[in-house]
Symmetry: C2
Subunit: 335 residues, 2 copies
C-alpha cells in the first residue's frame, strides 16, 4: 500500500453485500485484477451470488472487457457468509441496503476481522459519510466509494471523505480507482445526498413541480433528457456546455429562471402514492410505469447493451487525452 | 395545410435570423424537403450566410443525412434581407437574439407581408410565448418552436403554446415536426424558462451552491454528468431511470435531500464575474474555461462529430418502436 506503485493483483478487496450492485462491484474488481472476498449477509443472496456473478462476467466477455477467460476470474473470487475470510483484505467495500442499523452490524463484523490499516468504504448514496464513519473503529480509515451501475462498465465514481477521513487513504483509493478504469470525483468535504443525487434531485424537485401544475408530463421530461440533454452531456458535462452555447447569455436566463424554480421540501404526491402501493419499479413490475415480466427483463438487457455502447462512444472522447488542451488543464487545476 | 396529409415539399418555410442557430434550422428544414426563405436582418449575417449554410450541408453529407446532392438543397433556399420574400410562407420561424424590442420589429416586418393564416413561431428559450404572442397581429397563430443544436441532427424540440395559441395550429406544427425527424414535446401551457432550461437551471443553481461551499469543483460536476448521468440518460430519461434503480427507495432520498437543496434567486458570483469581463464562452475564447482559437474550432468539430454518433446510437433505441411496450403506452398516454 505504498504511494509509489499500485498493483491491483496484489491487493485483496472484500465486498460485503451481494445484491445487484454488490455483484456488479465484485465483477468490476475481478476484471481489474483483484482477488475478491465476497460476503453475503443474506442467505438468499449467498445462494444466487455465483450464478449472478457468472452472468455478469458473461456480459463482460461479450463486451470484450476480459483479458483472460471467465474461469480465471471466478478462481480469484471466494463467496462466503463468514466474515473471517476478509482477514487479509486491504480494502473492504460495504454495499448493503441503506439502513443504518444493518450497516452498524456489518461494520462491527468487518472491523472484528480486518487489520487496523484496512480501509473500509461504503457504497451508500443516502447516508452521510461523516455519520457512518462514527460507527467504525478508527474512523480515519472510512470513506465513501460510490459506484454507478453497472460497476464494471461505467467510468463514474464518487469518492467522498467524511469529516474525519484520513486524506492519504482517500488519495490512495482515488489512485486505485484509476486502475479500475474510473474517472472518479474526490470530494474532500461530505455532500449531503452526494453530488449526483444532489444535482439530479434538484431536477426531480423541479419536474414534479411542473407536473403538479399541469405544465409538463413524464413523457415530456423524458424526451428533454433523452434527446436534448442526452445529445451533449456525455461529451461536455455542464460547464463546458455553457461555454459552448454562450456563457454571456446565461446570466439573463439565470435571473429570469431562478425565482420561478420550486423551493419545496415536500415529497411529490405521485411518489408518495407509489410507495404506499408498494411500487418498487421494474423489480416488482410496478413503478411510475407498469411492466410485464418480459418488459422488465428486456429493460435489464437493453440497459446493459446501451451502457456498453455509450461506454465505447465516450471512450472516443476521453478527458485526459481530450480533443483540446483545455480539458487537460481543467483536470489538473481542479485537484 | 389540411389535417389529412403533410408534405414538407409543398410547405414553404421562412426563417428570420441567420446566426449559428438560424443557419442550423435552415439546414434542418432544407434536409426535410422544404423550400426555405431566409431573412438576414443583420448585413454581417447576410454576407456569411451562404458559406455557413454550405458548411453545415457539407456536415450533413458526411453524416449521410442527405437524400440528394448539396446543390439540390441550395437551389431550394433563397437568402435575402427583404422580408417580402416571405409572402407565401406557411410558417415563419424567428430566431433572432433574445431582445424583445428587436423581436417586436421583426414580427411587424413578418406580419406585414405574410398571409393571415401563416403560423409564426419563435425559437426563443428565454421569453415567455404568452408575452411574445401579444406583439403579433392575430396572436392565435403564434407559438414557440425551440430547437436543440445542431437543429439538423437532434431529435429534441420544444413546441410551446402561449395562453392564446390556437391549439389546431400547435397540433399541426407538432405533426409537421415529426417530418423533421423530431421527437417533440408539446407544452399546452407556457413554462417560464421552457422545460429544458427549467430543469437544467435547477441543476445549475445547485452546483454553483456546492461550489460556493467548496464541496465540489467544476471538474467534479462535469464528471458526474459525463460519466454517470450520461451513461443512462439517452436511453431512459429520468422517470424510467427511477423505476430501474428502484422507485421505492427514492422517497427516503427525496426527504433527506430536498431540504438541503439551494433555494437561492441570486446569480452565482462566478457567472456575474465572467459577464462583467465580457466572457462569452468559446465564441470569444473566454468563459468558464479559457480557449485558444484552435481549441475553440476543435470543440465545434468535436461536438458535431459526437452529436452525429449519439444521434445514431439513440436511433437504435427508439421511443416509438421501443424495446418494451411500456414506452409506446407512455407515448400515447401523455398526449
Amino acid at each position: 500500500m505504498t504511494e509509489e506503485q499500485i498493483v491491483p493483483a496484489d491487493i485483496e478487496v472484500g465486498v460485503v453485500g451481494i445484491g445487484l450492485m454488490g455483484s456488479s462491484i465484485i465483477v468490476s474488481l475481478l476484471v481489474s485484477g483483484h482477488q475478491v472476498k465476497a460476503i453475503a449477509p443474506i442467505p438468499e443472496d449467498f445462494e444466487q451470488a455465483e450464478a449472478r456473478i457468472a452472468g455478469l462476467l458473461d456480459i463482460c466477455a461479450q463486451a470484450d472487457l476480459l483479458k483472460y477467460d471467465i474461469a480465471y476470474y471466478t478462481s480469484r473470487l471466494e463467496i462466503s457468509m463468514d466474515y473471517s475470510t476478509l482477514a487479509n483484505c486491504h480494502l473492504v467495500l460495504e454495499c448493503v441496503i441503506e439502513d443504518i442499523d444493518i450497516k452498524t452490524t456489518v461494520y462491527h463484523a468487518i472491523t472484528d476481522v480486518v487489520g487496523h490499516d484496512a480501509i473500509i468504504a461504503s457504497n451508500t448514496s443516502a447516508i452521510p459519510i461523516s455519520t457512518l464513519q462514527q460507527l467504525v473503529a478508527i474512523p480515519g480509515r472510512f470513506l465513501g466509494v460510490h459506484y454507478a451501475e453497472p460497476a464494471f462498465a461505467t467510468r463514474f465514481m464518487e469518492i467522498t471523505c467524511g469529516a474525519d477521513t484520513d486524506e492519504a487513504k482517500a488519495n490512495w483509493v482515488f489512485r486505485l480507482a484509476h486502475h479500475w478504469g474510473k474517472e472518479p470525483t474526490l470530494l474532500r468535504k461530505d455532500i449531503k445526498g452526494f453530488i449526483t443525487n444532489r444535482l439530479m434531485y434538484a431536477v426531480y424537485r423541479e419536474i414534479f413541480h411542473l407536473m403538479d401544475e399541469g405544465r409538463a408530463s413524464m413523457d415530456d421530461a423524458d424526451k428533454v433528457f433523452r434527446y436534448d440533454v442526452g445529445s451533449w452531456i456525455t461529451l461536455m458535462g455542464i460547464f463546458r456546455r455553457m461555454d459552448f452555447t454562450g456563457v454571456g447569455d446565461q446570466i439573463e436566463i439565470f435571473k429570469k429562471t431562478f425565482p420561478g424554480l420550486s423551493n419545496t421540501d415536500e415529497v411529490p404526491e405521485v411518489m408518495q402514492k407509489i410507495v404506499e402501493e408498494n411500487g418498487r419499479g421494474i423489480q416488482n413490475l410496478q413503478g411510475l410505469y407498469a411492466y410485464s415480466p418480459e418488459e422488465a427483463k428486456k429493460w435489464e438487457e437493453t440497459f446493459s447493451q446501451f451502457n456498453t455502447e455509450i461506454f465505447n462512444l465516450a471512450a472516443q472522447y476521453p478527458y485526459g487525452e481530450a480533443p483540446v488542451n483545455a480539458c487537460a488543464v481543467n483536470k489538473v487545476s481542479s485537484r
